[in-house]
Each structure stands twice: as structure tokens, then as C-alpha cells.
Symmetry: C2
Subunit: 187 residues, 2 copies
Amino acid sequence: MGADRTDVLGAAQRLLNRDPGASMSAIADAAGVSRATLHRHVDSRDALLVELGTRSLDQWERRLDGVAVEEVAATGDAAAIRAVLEALVLGYVDDADDHGFALTDHVILANAELIERTQRLADREAVLFAAAQEAGVLRTDLPLRWFGHTIYGQLVAGREAVRLGDVARRDVAHLVLSTLLAGVTSP
Amino acid sequence: MGADRTDVLGAAQRLLNRDPGASMSAIADAAGVSRATLHRHVDSRDALLVELGTRSLDQWERRLDGVAVEEVAATGDAAAIRAVLEALVLGYVDDADDHGFALTDHVILANAELIERTQRLADREAVLFAAAQEAGVLRTDLPLRWFGHTIYGQLVAGREAVRLGDVARRDVAHLVLSTLLAGVTSP
DNA sequence: CTCATTTGAGACATGTATGTCGCAACATTG
DNA sequence: CAATGTTGCGACATACATGTCTCAAATGAG
């Protein structure tokens, strides 16, 4: 019956995804564990949130590593860059399903270390965006910093659309990617 | 020295925009009013949030009324529909500046009445989107319900971009609109 | 089986925000 | 000036989540 530390964190993540204000007691319940045991795993609620935030940044970093952003950016190959961009976004949509609440949680968004690390990851991403602009993949009339934010916004949109049942989960990835790349107007 | 009820709500709105978790005491301070007086204006913190949520929906509704969505939708005139779409989004961007925190606040997002009213306003908007699809302005391969969500996502993105100083306030409206309509890829 | 470890349950102290109240200072109006 | 109403201040009780602790039960390894 050993609830692994990972299991507990996972359960916490899932619950907080549904109810971002859940108490430690509620989280313990959701993890099938007593409040005391939860505290044996994690020092405080804030520490828990920060850890989950870190996890989501880990995942983000894993995505960047997985597609070898820097290398692809260095090639300057338009097709490759475009493929990587799409793969990244699709990956993010998947991740947002699990780590979604971290996108808007106040504690996480206010933590200095996490902010700093977010900045670094955004910088890595920006390298790809710059190369994409250079290669004629992305519009050059948009500021580099904006791309990351739009993607973020679309992730929030997709998450909310699914949450409210307006869009089927399996359709989200396509909708987000397609809207992001081509916009909503008729060609 | 009369701090009007409207003034107090406005101050609360501004503070909560910066710090969504602000306490009643902090809100009172920000409004230049004692905690007791704040409570003379509003029954509880939740009631305050709900009221601010209502305000933001009021503003949304005002926008819809202002451009006469239904009438324009009924004409089926592509140019007019497109103009109204743009005007709406630009208006929303402006509003998000003030009511922004309501976009992601848990209490507000969980309130039954507000959810219901949001639904009704989204329905009104959907009429315009449908007409826009019909008139060849909006893509027909995207589900009706999705348009509202993407717009919402872009608003969140713009808000965050400004908050982090990545984008100048005066540029947001154009970025949001342009990205929304045409996407991020080079034509 | 026995011992060591882990867990759950509950009690406990603490801290903090909330909402209420009374009173004194103040201004506003007549 | 007098009367009325509003405000700030501080006290108060309350509620609730948090984090710690203890002890008994369960688990698992040897």
C-alpha cells in the first residue's frame, strides 16, 4: 500500500488541477494518505506548490531537450524548425493537461526561483523563435518575446475549453496548434 | 473625503489585479479606508469578488451592446462583421487591463451565477462568430465554441506579457488582435 | 515469529483572516 | 451651534488551515 512520494505528488497535482485552492487535508485525502504522512513528504503547502511548479518546469525543459531546440535553431532549416515548433506546442498541450494549474497558480507564479528558471527556459525558446523568424517560418513583425506568451495563452485557452466541456480533449491539440499558426480568419 | 463605494471597489480591483490573494485588510488599506468601512460596503470577501466578477461581466455585456452584435450578425455583411470583431477584441484588451484578474480568479470562476451569465454572454458572442463563419470572415473548420476561448487565451497572454514587461502596454492590443486573426506564421 | 519501520488517527498549539461590535473623533447638514 | 451620520480604531470572538507531536496499529523484512 506504499504511496510513493511520486504518487502523492501526482495526486496532489491532479487535485490542484481541479481545485487550485485545495487544503492540505483535501490533498492528503486525494492521495489516500493521512495529513501527517503528507507532511512527512513535504514541509509545507507552499513547498508542495513550489515542488509541483518545479516539476512542470522540468517537463518543459525535457520538451526543449527532446527536440534539441538549440541544434535545430542553428541549422536554420525552415522545414526542421517548423516541425520542431509544432512538436513543441503539441507536447505543451499534453503537459498542460497535467501541470495546467501551475500556469495560473499565484504561489508558483510569485516564487523567485521559479520565475528565474522560467526566464531561462523562455530564453532557450526564444532562440528557436529567432531562428524561425530568420528562416521565414514565423512573422518578423512580432516581437520575439511575444511568441512564448501567445503559446502560453493558447494553452490556457485549451485547458479552459476542455474544462468547460466546450471542446473534446482529443481535439485540443489540433485547435491550439492550428489557431496559433494560422489565426482564426478565413484564408 | 468620501470614499465612494465605487472608489472602494475600484481600488480593490486594482490591488487584486496585482495581488489576487490580497486580504481584506490589504484591500482596505489600498482603498484608503478602514477594514470596518470596507465591510460596511461589502458583506464578505467572497461577496466582494463576486461583485467584481459581476462588474467585469457588465463591462463585457456593454461591449456586446456597444457594437450591436446581434444586428451586425443579422446583416451578414462580411466587412461589418469583421470590423465589429476587431472592435470587440480591442475593447476586451482594454478591459482586461482593469478586470484582468477576474479572468483567472478561482472564486469568481467557481461562482454558479457568474458561470451561468458568462455562458449567456458567450452565447451572444457565438451568434456573431457563426455569422462570421457564414460570411467567410472566420474559418469554418474551427468549432464555434473555440473562438471565445482563443480570444480569452490571447487576453491572458497579453496581460501576462505586460505584467512581465515583455511588451509595452500600448502594443498589446495590436499584438493580440494581429496574432488572433492571422496567427504567428509568415504568410 | 520478532523486530524495525511506516502509517493513520487524533490532539495540540499557532497563526492568520474574517466578520462584528462599540466608541470616540470627525464632517456634514440643518 | 446642534443634530445627524459617517468614519477610524481597536477589541473581540470565530473559524479554519497549518504544522507538530504522540501513540497505537499495520506492515514488512529478517
